[in-house]
Amino acid sequence: MLTTSLRRRTPGDLLFSIAVGTVVALVLFATIYPIWFVSIASVSDPAMVATGRVWLIPQGFSTFGYEQILADDRIWTGYRNTLLYTVVGTALNLVVTLPAAYALSRREFAPRRALMFFFAFTMFFSGGLIPTYLLYRDLNLLDNWLVFVLPSALNVYNLIIARAFFENSLPEELFEAAMLDGVGYLKFFVSMALPLSKAIIAVIGLYYLVQHWNDFFTGLIFVRDYDKQPLQIVLRDILLSNQAFAGGAGGAGGSGGGAYAQQFADQIKYGVIIVSTLPVLLVYPFIQKYFEKGVMVGSVKG
């Protein structure tokens, strides 16, 4: 990396710096503006938004969208379900993934290469949708909330990341000393390896958490019972069900007809986007510092 003090300032360098600055500014704008716009549109006067008078700061003030969302049972049922699936699912994910990753990281464990192939092969080859569907039917997983947590209990990519972390970051001397004291693998894993692995637990915990929170596929394919549907399915119904029908009433707020109803439907949509994404956005800054670590550890050895 070039430091400022080392750089000679030629006109070419200056031009280059300006070019970099411009590109970065454009990238940042393109990334942040859509999220910012949704935030301001969710509290602005719907008519001002619909006629294109809201650009950088909220215009007018309306909490209509949020009031409708608060009063809508579907959203809160979805929220409750997703919360349940995410908490139980992520806990199960960690219980399944971490011990397996540790076992695979032990170099003296001869079958580990064969087992790694057993796991990794599923990343590139699968039975496909229909055999999976029929299997779940035979296992009574259709319309069963366990379908949200059991089949996704192991993500092979996360397994590989965790294994690489255990391989590269745990001092081998620690293990040897523990072995001399007659401590078994299990006890060593629980009392020594885990406390030293907070970073990787945070990273793959976040990956799993987001995977469950954003899971739309499972509900779409395997669940019919609306009381069991997660937030993403409810979101689909509110955000997308009246797609391309300007004038159709959207979500719970549709009253009246035509463009007037569409304005209010849109405000509900902006609000719903914020309400559903907020939990992930709130967790994000706290775990964000671990990202690079997680990705780099995973890239050491695939």
Partner: protein
Amino acid sequence: MAVTLDETAANVPGSTPVRAMVRGRRRRTLSGHLRTRWQLWLMLAPAVVVTAVFSYVPMYGIQLAFREFDFAAGLTGGKWVGFKYFQQFFDSPLFWDLIRNTVAISLTTLMVGFIAPVLLALTVNQIVGPRRKRFTQTATYLPHFISIVVVVGMLQVFLSPTSGVIPHFLGLFGVEGTNYLGDPGSFVSVYVISEVWQHCGWNSIIYLAALSSIDTQLYEAARVDGASRPQIIRHVDLPALVPTMVVLFILNMGGVLNAGFEKIFLMQNPMNLPASEVISTYVYKIGILQSQFSYSTAIGLFNTVINFAFLVLTNQLAKKFANTSLW
């Protein structure tokens, strides 16, 4: 293809010399292996069971593609019919439309989605000052965590021809608004641009990590030779990214027919269907919605096999020409 738990356990290479760490004795027998390693097997058991049941049993069910579906027989199917359902798919009037749409969407995503993170990483690496760099990274990773449903919802409100912010913005320059989401001609562009918006930053992490591990002596040597910053990017930064690029390219090729089901499904509407019906959405419609289980299994298998073939082929080519490979 199916590997059950029992077979896996039986395949344990008991004859392989096991370096017995525990109490320093070498054991060569299966029982010896199990006596020293049973705790490791216990730790692996849940993961092995989950993978065997939820990944390998469905592979066993692939035979359904070659059999008549029989409700009573379930996963293993009934009468053997050979390649009947594959033939039915190849003869279907939809066949070439599905292939064309799937390839158009996935190849464009693959190419643009492959190059954009490299360019972003090279650019972000040029930002002077750790805090500005940090901020840019944090901001560009963020969209990766937004759900697909929300991204498609944002596309719809932003692109709405009557009230969307993008038509309003284009209107300032006198560009007439069209219904981008209802137009088959813009489907691929809207899909790919939103993919890049969502994942480009996240996918650049791995390249930024590679860039940060470049030996600073290389930069100093280049500067002594009078290289300009663009020349340094071209001759120092870019070559450092090549090994990572090759590996990711192979992995991406393994998904050449894997146009993302969820997002395409959510973006579909009757108007853009000529461009947006892909293999995976078609399998969903005829399999899950119309219960033509054998036919849709065959189509799904066709898709998987093509992907797998591309993965193996790209891997071989990379091994030969770039000396990098997955296995």
